[in-house]
Amino acid sequence: MARVRRSAKKKATQDPARRGGQRTVPAPRGGARVKVHLALEVNGETLEVACASHRTLLEILREDLGLTGTKHGCELGECGTCTVLIDGRPELSCLVLGIECEDRPIVTVEGLADGPRLHPLQETFAELGAAQCGYCTPGILCAAKALLDANPDPSLPEIREALSGNLCRCTGYIKIFEAVELAARRLKDPGAKPARETLYGRQD
């Protein structure tokens, strides 16, 4: 039902000719909006929320649960920015309804660290400047974590493939690839160091 609403909204906003200037106006939904009660398992905690049934997981995380670490870039499933892990798999939280997520463990960027101990991906992304503006970073970290969970030693083509649904406009992806590679090495060897070229450019 809410998916239908989404696409109706998309249609209305995508054709500017349809916006404004209309003589006939659809009647606003009057009266109180019916809310559903959800219990979601987010980052290992059970969180309860009462919200309209059409709320996307993205909206619930950010606006109802205050987990603003998850960002949005399009809310149409095009950019990957809002990626979270559901049942351990990367999903676009803007395309998933909250009511679809009960009994499915959800992990957001806030849940990647183990208390004060950061996930190696978080450390390597910060260390190599793989987070420039940082806005796509939470989604990419989630996608990268799913990759490393499934494949602790990914090749560069596998990293590219795993992150191909996530757009980044700052980095040209290269520091992101290098940060994922370094995190994979750190999982085996916590002392693994980045290549000198990564930090200083080529020194010929």
Binding site: E110, E123, L199
Partner: protein, 808 residues
């Protein structure tokens, strides 16, 4: 450097913090979801705003009926144009925007009315309940149409008809130059518009104080200019308006204008007494735009047999969109920097910007210079081919020497382009590949330069361009206040590293307070690659002053002469007996006991320019960065598909304050250049009312992880005397050579010339099929240019005009 204190002992060793690839000060906050962007702000009782936008490209507004919307449950306020009648705009010469259109809409997407409601759904339903009667006016969608259609005018100011701004400058005598030349070459080139596509949509939150003041949090690159616009349009004292820039989720120039939605939420907060948030949809961001101008260009050069450019005549036609934005500056920028790479003896520039009924263009990474750079570098590739000179060699032969004035009186200081070219030529094995690769494989070279901050502010004033204030704490912490705003480039980190270097502490000991017009000294904003150089110099001055105070106190305490006091490892010590010293915190306490509360300030104003002619405000800079690129690619002649395999990019950074961030800026610039070169297009459907062709991230193609080639970065460090520790810019310059290097490599691969971007497969196939083996513009419009302003060259009247000493 002005204000640098003398006589203090320098650290006995080399730089400790500057030059180190330290983690960004906000790096972990960005990787844990802790950093708060504008849309992450949630305030009690907050309302949500939606803006109704015009569905027609050009019309008079006959009537706006908001009565139904205003009566809807949950709607707290409705605004229309007459509620905010004062115009604004980024440049003083083009105050042509309204927060909400008053009597006319000029593009699909122009804001007409706004609603504040209890939630976004209600606000969305309410704007749909607003009725607007439009009386359509004839729209224009192209430069040709703008020339053919002087009436109705889109604006009642500007040059004439729908010509916004026309400029014509002649430096020296190009006719003389063409006579001196052995050959004359001419090209027509087109550079399509593109948009910034920052991942974060624009967002703003406003809150009114009970005493009538207002605070705006916004995703903006220019809080100072937003502050000015907000005070002007709201009719409030600037002292009662506070603008706080939030960390930008990407900017690239797209958040450099004061925007209508920022003013709208401030007004809504004032009239409702509640906080109001607006977050634009991705589609609205495409219509907000202010991105790369589509530019049609004609370049004509007269060259000697050895490739020396005796005369250059450059013409640019800019499709500006519906408002002025930065357009006057953009127009000048399409003619300003052709002269700072290769020696040009006589130069004429004619540029014209048109109003059209499309979203306004403005500054995007490289502001007005990637287009002419594309034209110049593609043109030079053809000149080299005709003269049978290697493209690297023709450039190396005629580099502008360091410490000279160019033909248009731009002062070039350090100039590392020679080293850049040598690096990419050697690194790519250019000499064994150029014209020698198998069919379908190509290699291309191009170079560029960019400013390190504009020499003049956007509005005329004689105050500093940036200020930095330090507060030293008894616990050994230092708080640095500066109006700068980090848009992802790492300016917070640069600030922390510079201050830490001089005070002998670590970046983590420093707290940065940024981008807050109530708390921080003015910095003009994150544009024109100005922040590292200008803010860095101001930070050095403020930190040197603090260092002097601490050194006096430490000298007294240690009973050592002040000349012997050194700073490092969070200590202040006697450099001749390093174990005799104070901790940094003890030194602060000693200084505070001696002199009272410690605070220092620093500021920076660029040196005066030698370009003393009308239009000479655009182009001068304290320093110029240089880049050279070699692109290796292959082209499938059956499909026209281009696959970029590798990019070699050497950048003259002066000195890296933080090399890993510099490399990141290079890689990001290469990426954005690739997008513009191969796929990105901000274009509109003239037959469908001027709607955007691709207003979504799926349809607007940008490179993904799958398209990004290998990038090999070489940093050339030749410290510039005007840069902080010698540093120059890196955020924009390395984008510029990418598109022309790709075009030149496509020619090397399959022998066709694509004289326009984006270089799409269909254009390549068209070129292959055409007799001229070229795809690009075939004509420029007939246009009546003004007589140029004639400006003597710096070497005019000198007996031997050819060389050196007389030119600096």
């Amino acid at each position: 450097m002005a204000g640098r204190t003398e006589g203090l002992a320098r650290p006995a060793r080399a730089l400790r913090v500057v030059g180190r690839p330290v983690r960004k000060v906000d790096g972990l906050a960005k990787c844990t979801g802790a950093l708060r962007y504008a849309d992450d702000i949630i305030l009690p009782r907050m309302l949500f705003c939606r803006i109704l936008r015009s569905p027609v490209p050009h019309a008079r507004i006959a009537n706006v009926d908001t009565s139904k919307a205003a009566r809807m449950p949950g709607v707290k306020a409705v605004l229309t144009g007459p509620d905010l009648p004062i115009p604004f705009g980024i440049l003083p010469v083009s105050q042509d925007e309204h927060a909400l259109c008053v009597d006319r809409v000029r593009f699909v997407g122009d804001p007409v009315a706004a609603v504040a409601a209890v939630d976004e759904d209600t606000a969305f339903e309410a704007i749909q309940a607003i009725g607007v009667d439009y009386e359509p006016l004839r729209p224009v969608f192209s430069i040709d149409e703008a020339i053919r259609t002087p009436e109705p005018r889109i604006h009642d100011y500007g040059d004439s008809g729908n010509i916004h701004k026309q400029v014509a400058l002649e430096f020296g005598d190009i006719e003389h130059g063409f006579r001196e030349a052995d050959a004359v070459f001419e090209d027509l080139v087109f550079y399509e518009g593109s948009t910034h596509l920052a991942m974060e949509q624009h967002a703003a939150v406003a809150q009114a104080d009970p005493d009538g003041k207002v605070t705006l949090w916004s995703s903006t690159q220019t809080p100072h200019y937003v502050h000015r616009a907000l005070a002007k349009v709201l009719g409030m004292r600037p002292a009662h308006v506070r603008v706080i820039a939030c960390p930008n989720g990407g900017g690239f120039g797209g958040k450099s204008d004061p925007f209508n939605h920022e003013i709208v939420v401030a007004k809504l907060a004032l009239i409702t007494g509640r906080p109001v948030k607006v977050t634009l949809t991705r589609e609205e961001v495409f219509y907000c735009h202010r991105g790369r101008h589509p530019v049609l260009m004609q370049i004509k050069t007269g060259v000697r047999r050895d490739g020396r450019i005796e005369a250059m005549h450059f013409r640019s036609f800019l499709d500006g969109g519906a408002y002025g934005s930065y357009g006057v500056a953009s127009t000048y920028y399409t003619g300003a920097l052709q002269t700072v790479t290769y020696d040009v003896r006589n130069y004429k520039f004619e540029g014209v910007r048109f109003f059209t009924n499309k979203p306004p263009c403005g500054p995007k990474r490289g502001h007005g210079t990637p287009q002419p750079r594309f034209a110049l570098e593609v043109h030079l590739d053809k000149v080299a081919e005709a003269l049978k000179i290697d493209p690297a060699e023709i450039r190396l032969r005629h580099l502008v020497p360091p410490n000279t004035l160019t033909v248009n009186s731009l002062r070039v200081g350090s100039m590392g382009l020679r080293a850049c070219i040598e690096k990419v030529v050697a690194g790519s094995d250019w000499k064994r590949k150029f014209r020698l690769l198998p069919p379908g494989k190509g290699i291309g070279l191009a170079c560029s330069s960019y400013i390190c901050g504009a020499g003049l502010p956007i509005y005329w004033n004689n105050m500093p361009h940036t200020g930095v204030q330090l507060k030293l704490d008894r616990g050994g912490g230092v708080t640095v206040f500066c109006g700068e705003i980090d848009i992802g480039q790492g300016s917070d980190t640069v600030l922390a590293q510079v201050v830490a270097e001089i005070l002998g502490i670590e970046p983590i000991d420093i707290r940065i307070v940024f981008g807050d017009t109530d708390l921080t000294p003015v910095d003009l904003g994150s544009y024109s690659s100005r922040v590292t150089l200008m803010m860095g110099n101001a930070a050095i001055q403020a930190a040197e002053r603090a260092r002097e105070i601490l050194a006096r106190a430490a000298a007294a305490k240690l009973e050592a002469p002040i000349e012997r006091i050194g700073f490092g490892d969070r200590r202040v010590f006697d450099v001749e007996q390093p174990d005799r010293g104070l901790t940094f915190a003890e030194a602060v306490q000693a200084a505070e006991a001696r002199e009272g509360t410690i605070g220092t300030v620093g500021s920076y104003t660029p040196p005066p320019s030698a370009a003393k002619y009308k239009g000479g405000g655009v182009g001068p800079s304290p320093a110029y960065s240089y880049s050279a690129a070699v692109v290796e690619l292959d082209v499938d002649p059956r499909t026209g598909w281009v696959r970029v395999e590798r990019v070699h990019l050497a950048h003259d950074i002066g000195r890296s304050i933080n090399p890993v961030l510099v490399v990141g800026q290079v890689e990001g610039s290469v990426y954005m250049g690739l997008g513009e070169a191969l796929m990105e297009e901000q274009t509109f459907r003239a037959n469908r009312n001027g709607v955007h062709k691709f207003p979504s991230m799926l349809e607007y193609k940008s490179p993904t992880t799958m398209e990004m080639p290998e990038v090999i970065t070489y940093l050339v460090e030749d410290p510039d005397p005007n840069g902080p520790f010698g540093a120059k810019e890196v955020g924009q310059g390395p984008l510029l050579p990418i598109a022309p290097a790709i075009a030149n490599a496509v020619h090397d691969a399959i022998g066709v010339r694509i004289d326009e971007v984006p270089i799409t497969p269909e254009k390549i196939l068209r070129a292959i099929a055409s007799p001229s083996k070229r795809c690009g513009p075939k004509r420029i419009p007939d246009f009546a240019w003004h007589d140029p302003i004639r400006v003597p060259t710096p070497w005019a009247g000198v007996v031997d005009p050819a060389r050196s000493g007389d030119r600096s």
